[in-house]
Symmetry: C2
Subunit: 245 residues, 2 copies
């Protein structure tokens, strides 16, 4: 059996997240497995590098699966794309060593979050950013976001009730790039807790809009209490940008 | 009765064009008239500055209509946007002099066409550009496009069977801007014939891909024969960018 690795781009708007679910719910994983099964002529289970939630997009999701396909690997993107819906595209396919595991082997992941400001929401960006009607102070968001860097307990920023062994993660870098009326927030970490990026972004936006002071982020981290942090930013602005191995 | 002018942005993907049609077909005009009627408490007929076809977008469509609304004009965008689908947005509303007519008063219109090149189509741009798998020679397209400028008979570039008095139009400017793997084509004219922009773009792309020589555009113009020109470029790459009065 060969181990195949795919780099996949998708718009999450019309999907209930990456991970397959019971009950005929449409997911990215489900669509990919169905397309691969048509080529493999049997059911194939894929492993996703990062689990994205409903409405969240990916620029370079990494998946791997074991199979023996008659289609040459260089023809696989075209073959799969002809079977996949237009909002999921396989960008590249390659053969990797047998023990490559797209999730366990991931060293760090980078998530991007787009925010845009304007009086009227752009129809062309409505599924790809969080639209704000008030201009936030980007500089304050950048300063506050820098406090998130490092190895810390992010319990305050994960969805309450989620069960993980440890809520300690290492954010190796945060940055905020301003482009006209928009800003790109970028987080790289060894891993992210459930809703962690969206809860951090929601809190940073409240800081940007002056509803919280810049230093509040330190108190929130220390509290380890979800109710101390801000709102959960909408899924539509979030992109899994890259997984580093 | 006051004369209201709206600047409207829309994504045309899910609409059968701007102009209202019989038989419950969804159109931009239909949606706008329905929203305005809810505020005016009666049917209102709107006039569109440019009629866009099914799947064609607008960055700044101009419409006007006569009514006496109790909603102050500065509140009108917010009021209408709360009633409109998310892919149609009223950007501004203003009161204009009584004889302003968004179509008859238009001096020139500018259309934008987006083309992108790459091995795999981007999911995020799939509704907003013509995706080419071969890289065209942009320079040849620019040179050929320049021959379209001026006052000429564009019969060869209009849909066969369309009935207009004259097929002479004046293209005051054409330009092509390259941005990485993409190009923005921009046409400004006193008016455009049915399918004219898309037929010109289709022909220019065939020139860019080397299927026709650069000078062929002159022979096509002279022929006044639709069968001499190239394919009709897909609707999804076309945007009504601006109407000048």
């Amino acid at each position: 059996m060969s181990n195949y690795k795919l780099i996949v781009e998708y718009e999450g708007t019309n999907y209930h997240g990456f991970q397959i679910q019971k009950g005929g719910i449409i997911t990215i994983q489900g669509c990919l497995e169905e397309a691969i099964a048509q080529i493999a002529k049997k059911q194939v289970k894929i492993i996703g590098g990062g689990r994205t939630d409903a409405g969240v997009h990916a620029l370079s999701q990494v998946v791997n699966f074991r199979s023996n396909l008659t289609v040459p690997v260089e023809k696989l993107p075209t073959a799969l794309n002809s079977l996949l819906p237009k909002d999921i595209r396989v960008k590249t396919a390659s053969l990797v060593h047998d023990d490559f595991h797209s999730r366990y082997d991931a060293a760090t992941k980078t998530y991007l979050y787009l925010i845009e400001y304007g009086l009227v929401e752009s129809v062309f960006k409505r599924n790809y950013c969080w639209w704000l009607k008030k201009l936030p102070v980007w500089d304050n968001m950048l300063t506050a976001g820098k406090y998130l860097e490092g190895t810390q307990d992010f319990a305050a920023f994960t969805a309450s009730g989620s069960s993980v062994k440890s809520t300690v993660r290492t954010i190796s870098s945060f940055d905020l790039e301003v482009l006209g009326n928009a800003a790109k927030l970028r987080f790289t970490a060894d891993g992210f807790l459930y809703y962690m990026v969206r809860n951090m972004v929601g809190t940073l936006v409240e800081i940007g809009l002056g509803r919280r002071d810049v230093d509040s982020i330190k108190r929130i981290l220390k509290s380890k209490d979800r109710t101390q942090a801000g709102v959960t930013a909408p899924a539509r602005g979030l992109f899994l940008e890259k997984i580093q191995y």
